[in-house]
């Protein structure tokens, strides 16, 4: 059974069939809701197993997380095979830089009505398509009010939509929607209502985690197997747990560390894992939305995704190889844009060597070089901030509000590079700008579109040196910067921290969160080659990953 489930996990297919959830578990409602027990500092147990205090000390707070628009669309597609652009109807998710920070999510009439209209749209699309509705319903009704078939649909689809088996009481209540079939003289009218209901359900729109209270540790709960399945799925796939994943949860086979590692390893084989890792990088490094026309933006994003796919998935190489790559995946147009030789077949994209161009790895991609650009030129300051804050996880304070950061132009006759080196590096400005500007100046040979240049955009008499510095060490260009970063010993810790933020849906990390990150970094090492898949497995196999701590109410 495990093998067949593994195959189903890998394909991520919605089979329409699965274990009957009728009268299965209590579902997510099995938790007590709030830790009212008084603390007993000497012991903490979970299913009779002791939980080490060191584990408890790295269980961060987690709260109700609403599906982002992207997650909603992916979930709906995996559930019913329908493509919807949820972002058209749902309020926008703020990028912090990740789009899933639950602490920024607010509820509004726009959300509720957008979700209702989306649910109606999806239901209509499913019901209107014979193939889709047969797959979703899973049986052919023998009559307009075929109670058995409808009940089966409710049970099966409900389990997938709510990500846990329904209770018998829930099945009975939802099965009552069949009355709509009589009203409309159409079985699928009842299916329509059922779909609308499930897609507006709080346990669909939100990832509800209750778990089971850990004895003697107020506010800490161990997730149920179904909640673990949901955490894994949205972390590694950005979508809902598959039928097979839920089967494992139903069978209690998503409980131990070994079980979780085994399942997560298989989940990496799913194409959704590639897309998810790609999305993580795009949000992290600021290139999810590029300030370019759609053709150029798409080509750049495909280039970076191809590198991620190849290094992390196809070759299983260390994450650091993203910064070391000596060739890139481009079509003829993008190659020309970069000044690189075109692929052999100019009709297709292919890997093209960087040669002596001075480019190397992701830091020379148009995606990275475009991120945080100014309106019509690169900003050495912003690029330096991007490197310091996103790649090195260093806090760079914002400029004082009274400082003009918009449309800063060098005085006439002053070269941009001189202006940055001399003006910013003065007085009260020097402290921050000396941290960031030298980094950005080392990338100035590449404009805000990733195009190589030797002179400044606005003044051809201003020759760009491209000389930069990172913590006192000179460099010139993305290749040398990449090498310095690789030697800096900061990357592993920062990657781990960023993954944590993305996984847990929190931009601001508290002491417990930082403890989780540190424990992993300490174990993995700061200076070693980082196997990202192993890192992700380390994440999900940590005992703290299956625990949650309630937040303090405001």
């Amino acid at each position: 059974m495990l093998t067949s489930m593994a195959l189903a996990l890998a394909t991520g297919c919605y089979t329409g069939l699965g274990a009957s959830g009728d009268g299965g578990t209590e579902g997510a409602g099995s938790g007590t809701g709030s830790g009212a027990e008084t603390a007993d500092a000497d012991s903490a147990s979970d299913d009779g197993q002791e939980i080490d205090q060191a584990v408890l000390d790295r269980v961060g707070a987690s709260g109700l997380r609403r599906l982002t628009a992207v997650e909603y669309a992916a979930t709906v597609y995996d559930l019913v095979g329908v493509d919807v652009d949820a972002a058209l109807l749902l309020p926008e998710d703020w990028r912090q830089p990740f789009d899933n920070d639950y602490t920024t999510q607010v509820v509004s009439q726009a959300l509720i009505e957008g979700a209702e209209l989306l649910a109606a749209d999806v239901a209509a699309l499913v019901v209107a398509d014979i193939g889709l509705r047969e797959a979703v319903v899973g049986c052919t009704p023998k009559s307009t009010a075929d109670a058995e078939c409808f009940r089966s649909f409710i049970t099966t689809f409900g389990r997938l939509a709510l990500r846990r088996p329904l209770t018998a009481g829930e099945v009975d209540r939802y099965a009552g929607l069949l009355v709509e079939a009589d009203e409309s003289d159409d079985f699928y009218a009842a299916v329509d209502v059922g779909l609308r209901m499930f897609l507006q359900h709080p346990e669909f729109l939100y990832r509800v985690e209750l778990g089971v209270a850990v004895a003697d540790v107020p506010g800490v709960f161990r997730l149920s197997d179904h909640e673990i399945a949901t955490r894994l799925a949205y972390f590694l796939w950005g979508s809902t747990p598959s039928d097979a994943l839920l089967d494992l949860a139903d069978a209690g086979e998503l409980h131990t560390t070994d079980q979780i590692i085994s399942v997560a390893s298989l989940m990496f084989d799913d194409p959704r894992a590639r897309a998810r890792v790609g999305r993580f990088h795009a949000l992290w490094l600021g290139y999810e939305q590029l300030p370019h026309g759609p053709t150029l933006a798409a080509a750049m994003q495909a280039e970076t995704q191809a590198l991620i796919d190849r290094v992390l998935f196809d070759d299983g190489s260390p994450w650091q190889d993203l910064l070391r790559a000596e060739e890139t995946f481009v079509g003829a147009t993008l190659a020309e844009h970069y000044g690189l030789p075109a692929p052999a077949d100019t009709e297709l994209s292919d890997w093209v060597p960087y040669g002596e161009s001075g480019r190397q790895g992701l830091l020379s991609h148009g995606t990275f070089l475009s991120a945080m650009a100014k309106v019509d030129d690169s900003s050495p300051t912003k690029r330096g901030i991007l490197v310091r804050s996103r790649l090195m996880c260093q806090d760079i304070p914002p400029p004082p509000p009274e400082v003009n950061v918009d449309d800063v132009e060098p005085p006439e006759g002053t070269c941009k590079e001189d202006f940055y080196r001399e003006v910013h590096a003065q007085g009260n400005c020097a402290g921050c700008h000396n941290l960031v500007d030298p980094i950005g100046l080392g990338l100035e040979h590449y404009d805000h579109r990733g195009v190589f240049r030797t002179v400044e955009n606005d003044d051809p008499t201003c020759v760009i040196s491209g000389d930069g510095m990172l913590d006192g060490v000179p460099f010139n260009g993305p290749a040398e910067l990449s090498d310095l970063l690789l030697d800096s010993g900061t990357l592993n810790g920062c990657v781990t921290k960023q993954i944590y933020r993305f996984a847990m849906g929190r931009s601001e990390l508290g002491p417990l969160d930082r403890a989780f990150v540190s424990s992993i970094v300490d174990e993995v090492g700061s200076d070693v080659e980082l196997d990202l898949m192993e890192l992700l497995l380390r994440f999900v196999s940590d005992e703290a990953f299956v625990l949650r701590r309630e937040e303090e109410a405001e």
Partner: protein
């Protein structure tokens, strides 16, 4: 228009499993002929300044004061629509500024983008925290709704025309895409706007039963109601299982769900007189992609544009009908975001975005000033269209809906000194700000549309004036005072 008390949809049948089914719509309640029309409040916002670099004047402020003012380029739509005499122009205002920690009341920090929005809409000084552009107090639409909304189907309509930010990684505009904030127990919370005209339509006309599709509409309503009923029950069951923080979150969700339930349940006004079911707008216009700055081909090709022209028309029609049918008495419309990168080419025929037009995007001098003025005029045209519609709609007392309304249009900036760049004549300035105010609620605009210089006054005083006119006895945040001559 006929107004009547809201009724709960009655006569539900209980289905076999306890589900409710609605009977056909009942006859409407008795007309309460003695009822006076409600007051309506509208705020529009334009993410644009009104001047151009290097100019010590703009093409909005009339030369003459009082009624019959001369109309310049930016206000030409008022003449075109025949409503100049219904719209007052308040000019010469300013928002004070200060450095972090020293921001004056109702003021903003020195940095320009986009720090004027928060004090305009809330009257509370902007945050001193770098990058925090959110309003620090409730906004006037929410303040108005507290008083005016009563039992209307929609407490307040919150719309935005500009569909996306169109620049860089800030796709949703963040605080630059919102002008509505409410006070939730001392916490100021943003209210998401509805951007999709289709959703706005479906939301506004929730429960409407067109006479030519009664059975079908009732069936849809029934299904919607059944689904929401179950969801509400389950949300209520889930609530006590959650921790305190999550309970707060879900309670908020639950409250909005109950609002939806109530709207599904309420009897809609009869479709008679001026109250009519508008034609469904169909699918929303596609969201345009980014255009690189200076890419005239990109602008000419229609990027950075999601047919905001049509969106503005549709949303304006909805506001007008909402007021007419008494579905809502309060509305906010963010035409464009702070630092607006909306493509101006489809709107005024110039291949640049609205923000760059103010920075020599199509040239300087008179060309640039005209371009900025035409952008302002685009906003004025849509505001004016709402004014016209309400003016042409008969209200309960035989007057027009406009005569029982107060409508304001505020702009993000004026022109003048920019403390950030220290330029003396910049569009990054909250000096020389203007606003429009229309309607006659509570004696507003007793002399019709006039030009009133309010030199040194705060733009939010215009909102105070509108609020007073509709009977809301509250001034906005830290900004006190009204434009007295506009109140009868």
């Amino acid at each position: 228009m006929v107004l009547h008390k809201r009724m709960q949809r009655r006569s539900f049948l209980r289905g076999a499993a306890g589900f409710t089914l609605a009977l056909p719509l009942l006859e409407s309640a008795q007309v309460e002929a003695a009822m006076s029309p409600p007051k309506r409040y509208f705020i529009g916002f334009a993410g644009s300044s009104i001047g151009f670099p290097g100019f010590n004047y703009d093409q909005l402020v009339p030369d003459a004061t009082g009624p019959g003012y001369d109309v310049k380029r930016a206000l030409q739509p008022l003449l075109d629509l025949g409503i100049r005499d219904s719209v007052s122009v308040v000019t010469g205002m300013e928002i004070p500024w200060g450095d972090a920690g020293n921001v004056p009341p109702g003021g903003r920090v020195r940095k320009w983008h986009a720090t004027s929005v928060a004090p305009i809409i809330s009257g509370v000084r902007g945050s001193s925290v770098a990058g925090d552009e959110a309003a620090q107090g409730p906004t006037s639409d929410q303040v108005a709704a507290d008083v005016l909304a009563q039992d209307t189907v929609h407490r307040a309509l919150t719309y935005r025309v500009q569909a996306a930010y169109y620049r860089g990684s800030n796709g949703d505009g963040g605080a630059r895409g919102r002008i509505s904030y409410r006070d939730e127990g001392g916490t100021i919370v943003p209210v998401d706007p509805i951007v999709s005209p289709r959703l706005a339509y479906e939301s506004l006309f929730i429960g409407f039963v067109p006479p030519d599709a009664v059975a079908e509409s009732l069936a849809v309503l029934r299904r919607r109601r059944s689904a929401v009923d179950l969801v509400l029950e389950d949300a209520q069951t889930l609530l006590p299982k959650l921790g305190a923080a999550d309970r707060q979150r879900l309670e908020r969700h639950f409250d909005e769900l109950r609002g939806l339930e109530k709207r599904l349940d309420q009897e809609q006004p009869p479709l008679e007189g001026a109250c009519e079911l508008l034609v469904h707008p169909g699918d929303d216009p596609a969201i345009g992609g980014v255009v690189e700055n200076g890419d005239t081909n990109g602008y000419a090709g229609g990027g950075a544009y999601s047919n905001e022209q049509r969106r503005a028309e549709l949303l304006t029609d909805l506001v007008a009908m909402a007021f007419t049918c008494d579905l809502s008495r309060v509305a906010s419309m963010m035409y464009t975001m702070g630092q607006c990168f909306l493509n101006a080419n489809p709107l005024i025929g110039l291949p640049s975005d609205m923000h760059e037009l103010g920075h020599f995007g199509v040239g300087g001098g008179q060309v640039g000033l005209d371009a900025m003025s035409d952008c302002v005029a685009w906003h004025v045209s849509h505001f004016g269209r709402l004014v016209q519609k309400l003016n042409d709609t008969t209200d309960l007392d035989g007057s027009s809906v406009l005569s029982n309304s107060a409508l304001s249009l505020l702009f993000e900036g004026g022109w003048g000194y920019d403390p950030e760049s220290e330029d003396a004549l910049s569009v990054h300035s909250s000096e020389n700000m203007s606003a429009l105010i229309a309607g006659n609620a509570g004696g507003l605009n007793p002399n019709g549309g006039v030009h009133v210089p309010n030199i040194g006054g705060h733009p939010t005083q215009v909102l105070n004036t509108a609020l007073k006119a509709v009977g809301v006895d509250q001034e906005m945040g830290e900004v006190s005072g009204v434009v007295g001559s506009l109140l009868g």
